[in-house]
Amino acid sequence: MELWDALITRLVTLDERVWEGKASGPAVSSWLDNFSGRTGATADLERLHALYILSQFMYFGSQEIRVLLRALYRELFLLPLAQRVRAETSDTAEFCKRMEEERSATRFLGVGNPSESGVHLLYYFRQENGLSKGAFLDSAQIYDLTDVGGQRKRVPRHPQVKRYVFLDDICGSGETAIRYSNNLLPELLAEQPEVEVWYFALFATSDGLRRVVNGTVFGTCCGAVYELDETYKWTGLKSRYLSALPDGLHRSLLTALPLTYGSMLIPGHPLGYQESELLLGFSHNTPDNTLPIIWFEQEHGTSTTWYPIFKRYPKV
């Protein structure tokens, strides 16, 4: 009882302060009703464990996302740039001038289809950082098609651009970055080898970032505001969620619960896509790297009834 109360108390605070009212009492109750004893434990015990899982959920609301977009720009891009420029000059006016030049020669792009979250965040990114429309490009605008010796060839459309910065909301496996690296960028770099290409994400798993560094043209020119290492994998050996558990919770049930019900929801990926097993959500969506028990809903394809607590809008 006491643990239950303590967990609810935590949820009341989280719901009020961070979760934007998306997980109030009635919603939580409905979600908990999903758990009916399938793992073999009693429904009550399952619900206690589910409540614990929910209490560990990390949600970044619209305000927080905006702050992270500002941090991405400032800490991953602007400050390192300022550092390089400052090393070249100790005069304020000169510094400001050079900074302006560097910024003018930089373009920001979103990854993915325009209707996907990576791209829509660009809008907030622009707003939060006071950037002009001209600082942004669509991937299609990187190249021009020209005729070179009877052959159609892609050439850089803006040769004066020195730096292309790709922005993503979450880098799970690094797939997206790899795709861009292989399909979009080779000609650019062939034509203009001195151009810098960067890939930044708000959130990235360590695995994902590693693949970006080792397997793409971005190399070490990548980063994330938040890097989620293996301790963020729910059932991982080093899972930060499963250490130092309060009395009354069983580690085995905590791992069995999302697995059992997840298998029912998405048989191929019971713990979320790309093996990330995350407990992460944003105001604009819940990524599919998160445990399906959190976000799965009937519309996603199967006929299973499930009440989600942090809904996901599918990428169909």
């Binding site: 935590r10 605070t13 989280l14 009020e16 302060r17 961070v18 560990q56 990390m58 949600y59 927080e64 702050v67 992270l68 500002r70 941090a71 400032r74 800490e75 602007l78 400050l79 390192p80 300022a82 550092q83 400052r86 090393a87 304020t92 510094f95 400001c96 900074m99 302006e100 006071g130 959130f203 505001v225 938040y226 989620l228 301790t231 963020y232 930060r240 250490s243 130092a244 992460l280």
Partner: protein, 316 residues
């Protein structure tokens, strides 16, 4: 102030400590955590010194033996630092390449040191800071300190105005909601600007810190947006920039601030950021840095050794 000017003012910025780093004089505050001890050993310096804070309550047998110790029996931070550093007065001359590991320092002493160095014409020096490798889930300890008094930090006392109708208190909120509560209670007539640590050092810490902040009686939930600010807590330069921007915003949206109080209660780098802002903009003004002083502190905080950052300060 325009963004680039602020950027320039902020200083060279943070970076990873290079492998070939060296300095003339190195000072570190002794405690039992691995990250303080390891760094002391690894750093390349002509002369190295341990500063011994009385608040840690070390017995003589716990202290390191084969290094010079800087000690004093004085109580207040100014008296203590001046006395303790007297031994190496000849080393602290303008032009010296000085490096200070802030990791184990008490925040008031750290800030006072910056002020002291400046008065001794040592306007350029390096700070280093080592993060722990993992922030273990802090158990819900309710009272981490017995706060004796809230007062101005030596060297950061302003000349305050009798008119207190538009006072502002900026609190850099950390995990310790008890400290936050004391400071807010002490300046109860001031309007509160909550500076939250986002991005946090680890993804789950932000929500965690909010659940704690929520326990502070007088930190309201719904505040006008100029009363909330965000900065990552591991970078004094970002902290500096955010302070400039936030205070500009408050001044532009409401009346001229009558008295300004700052209180950095999160990390040491945050405290350095606050001190930097004060030294560059608030000297001689009705502004002070205040702090909740306790008599004792734990000798060892978090576990492991994470990244080490180098901050090149220039107090110009």
């Amino acid at each position: 102030m325009a963004t680039d000017e602020i950027l320039f003012q902020a200083g060279p910025g943070k970076r990873s400590i290079p492998d070939d780093y060296s300095c003339d004089v190195f000072i570190s505050a002794f405690n039992l955590s691995e990250r303080v001890g390891k760094t002391f050993g690894k750093i390349n310096a002509a002369r190295k010194f341990w500063l011994i804070h009385n608040e840690y309550g070390f017995s003589d047998s716990e202290l390191p033996t084969n290094t010079s110790l800087l000690r004093s029996t004085e109580l207040a931070e100014a008296d203590f630092m001046i006395d303790a550093l007297e031994q190496i007065e000849s080393d602290l001359t303008p032009g010296v390449r000085l490096c200070i590991d802030m990791t184990g320092f008490m925040r008031p002493h750290l800030m006072f040191l910056m002020h002291l160095l400046r008065t001794r014409q040592i306007g350029t020096f390096d700070f280093i800071y080592t993060e722990p490798s993992q922030y273990t889930r802090k158990a819900e300890t309710v009272f981490s300190s017995d706060v004796v008094e809230v007062r101005q930090v030596n060297g950061y006392e302003g000349t305050h105005s009798v008119d207190m109708s538009a006072d502002v208190l900026v609190v850099g909120a950390g995990y310790d909601h008890d400290l936050i509560g004391h400071v807010i209670a002490n300046k109860s007539s001031a309007r509160l600007l909550q500076l939250l640590s986002l991005p946090s050092l680890s993804a789950d810490m932000y929500q965690e810190s909010l659940t704690r902040l929520h326990r502070v009686a007088d930190a309201p939930v719904k505040v006008p947006d100029e009363q909330l600010a965000y900065a990552s807590a591991s970078d004094p330069f970002v902290t500096y920039i955010v302070l400039v921007e936030s205070l500009q915003k408050i001044a532009s949206r409401s009346r001229q601030i009558s008295n300004l109080y700052l209180s950095p209660l999160a990390t040491k780098p945050q405290a350095v950021g606050f001190a930097l802002y004060y030294l560059k903009h608030l000297v001689g003004k009705p502004a002070s840095i205040i702090f909740p002083y306790a008599t004792r502190y734990s000798k060892e905080t978090s576990k492991g050794v994470g990244r080490t950052w180098l901050y090149e300060l220039s107090l110009g």
